[in-house]
Amino acid sequence: MFGFSKHEHLFGMAAASLLALAATTAHAQSGKITLTFANWASAEGATRPGIEKVIADFEAANPNVKINSEAISFSEIARQLVLRVRSGNPPDVAQVAGNDTILVATTGGVEPLDAYVGTEFKSTLKPDALNGLTVDGKLIALPWNQAPAGLWYNKTILKQAGLDPDNPPATIDALMAAMAAIKKSHPDVIPLGVDTTNRAFSMSSNWPWMRTFGAKPIGADATGATSKEMKAYLSWMREIAQKGYIDPGRKIGEFRPLIAQGKVAFLWDQVLVQGVIQSTNKMSDADFYKTYGVTVMPAGPSGKPASFEGGHQLVMFANSKNKDAAWAFMKYLATSPEAIRNYTVSYNASLPPLANVTDAPLRAQLDTPIFNAYRDKIIPTLTPQPYGAKFAAAATAVMAGVQEAVTGTKPIDDIAQSIQEQLDRR
């Protein structure tokens, strides 16, 4: 290509190999610890600058540690981690969330954190941030941030539809009435954004809706998919689809730019939506709070609103040769004011797991209508999820049934029966 002779080419390759070898040897001799950090924060354009800055800050404060950040997409990370654990080459630390956290722990390759956390440090964390992170009596992950789901609403659309923007719907009936009004006044607006794709995350996202109808198709004390509560939930999903209140088949992320553009009235989504909306429509904070609000899920027949924790956790792997350094890094990411300020709040737009924020500037940063609504109203409605090794398979069966209810004409009784048959096979 560049006119090198065969000998020159070989010489060049040999020289490059020697340089690489020399660099590696020098690095090893310098006594530097290298930690491998598998995460999707550096795989996504929106969060990459934030995580890179936080890693650089940590490396500056800990000159003997080098973080090797591995970018893996959110949808792929659990698969990669499980396969790597079983192959004997996991990273030192990984970012995980939802059922993936439990899946990775199920492999037996995760280091229990009880010895690292200790009573004193544990008391600085919110108890609800630690919920569901204990497997077989051992703490298997450190909460990095909290990102529960709430009902986002566009106040402008509500007002134009003749609804009270300061009183969002508190019940399913009120939500139905509001969506009917929005459909009438704004035919081009999607009244409600909900994820109806077939994946484990979608099941997590829909689980609170099932629970507010009193349905519990899987998990401990499950009442199955053929219960009248589950059928009521499936019938409701069919009704809102047939009335054109939802746009089936979209991932939750696909609704985020749409709500930013004023094309979605209500959105069942996590706290981090604020960051997406503002980066999309460039709204100032003042305009944002004037236009958007968030509240608890409208209560269904059970009378109880529910939510799910979509926050991220950090796990350390038992194979790690540098567990103390790994723990220091995890602790820094989750609880240091710098990391919370530079990543958790600013780039991830989510809540830190700390029970009390002592850093005054950070406390001010967290004192917003959205964060306060999540902290005071939505987090208390968090509902445990039936996570575990069988959750993904169950999610496939349940969400396939939800899709059949939303997009087809098959009788709800038959769909419920079909879901149950699939659940019984697992």
Binding site: R79, V82, L83, R86, L103, T106, T107, G108, D188, I190, T197, N198, R199, A200, D247, P248, G249, K263, A389, A392, A393, T396, A400, G401, Q403, E404, V406, T407, G408, K410, S418, E421, Q422, R425, R426
Partner: protein, 279 residues
């Protein structure tokens, strides 16, 4: 040189197949720390009563044979129509007709996904604009429409392959054969049926076999467009195996599915080879 070749084939092809066979008779879940357990034919027995497997198999047949059949006919029609057209202008048209075949599958999937969109999709815009439909249709989210919609995208991408293959074959038919048929005043349909199709038979068989195998294993287009949904309406074998292996981590059961899949393709390929030999 035969022994090294056999060794390489044994390692590259033989080992994965044998290992898949071994896994298929085990209860092996990656999330289970305990070692895999030999279960004999249990995985295969479970497959026989697995409704989703049968639905996925039926979907695979519809997707594969439907897509290949229609794409073959379109490719053949295009090749016959363009056969006698010459000049620089038509060379450009030919090149443009082949373009969809060069587009990566994932790009095809996303392209059609946006074209099918209920809100803002060009297909709905055209159909409502022409008054053919009153309201936009959610093509990929209606169980009865999702499979045909995915197949349209697949046919769009595949038909140029047959056009290219059959155009090259038609160009290779000896001029004397065509001329003598014309002297005998052979009509167009008769010319196609009695003269050209016999020449096209073997390329059609080989091309369709290649495309059947490719479509049987087509993951990217379906996954990017529907992920096998809504419900299980576009779930093909490859989608189902992926979900079982990489979402549920049931490698034993997924391997059993893979063995059956391989057997089906093998039987199919043998039938084709036999058809090629009978002249």
């Amino acid at each position: 040189m035969i022994l090294p070749t056999i060794l390489v084939l044994a390692i590259v092809v033989g080992y994965p197949i044998i290992y898949t066979l071994v896994l298929s008779v085990q209860d092996y879940n990656l999330l289970n720390i305990d070692p895999a357990v030999f279960v004999g034919a249990e995985n295969y027995r479970n497959i026989l009563t697995d409704r989703i497997f049968w639905q996925s198999l039926a979907n695979t047949a519809v997707y594969t044979f439907g897509s290949v059949g229609i794409a073959t006919l379109i490719g053949l029609a295009m090749a016959l129509l363009m056969e006698n057209l010459g000049g620089a202008g038509f060379r450009v048209i030919r090149a443009l007709l082949v373009t969809p075949w060069a587009v990566p599958f994932v790009v095809v999937a996303f392209l059609f996904r946006y074209m099918y969109a209920q809100k803002g999709g060009i297909i709905n815009a055209m159909l409502t604009g022409l008054g053919i439909i009153d309201d936009p249709i959610s093509w990929l989210n209606v169980a009865s429409l999702a499979m045909p919609s995915v197949m349209v995208a697949n046919i769009w991408a595949m038909a140029p392959f047959f056009f290219l293959l059959l155009s090259a074959t038609l160009a290779g038919i000896p001029v004397e054969v065509i001329e003598s048929a014309r002297v005998d005043r052979t009509r167009t349909w008769s010319m196609i049926y009695h003269i050209k199709l016999p020449y096209l038979r073997n390329p059609l068989l080989i091309g369709s076999l290649l495309m059947i195998i490719a479509n049987f294993n087509d993951f990217a287009k379906i996954w990017a467009m529907t992920q096998g949904g809504p419900g299980y309406s576009t779930s093909t074998l490859v989608i189902y195996v992926y979900r079982v292996a990489f979402e549920n981590f049931e490698f034993g059961y997924a391997s059993a599915l893979g063995v059956l899949w391989l057997a089906l393709l093998f039987i199919f390929a043998l039938a084709y080879m036999r058809a090629l030999r009978t002249d």
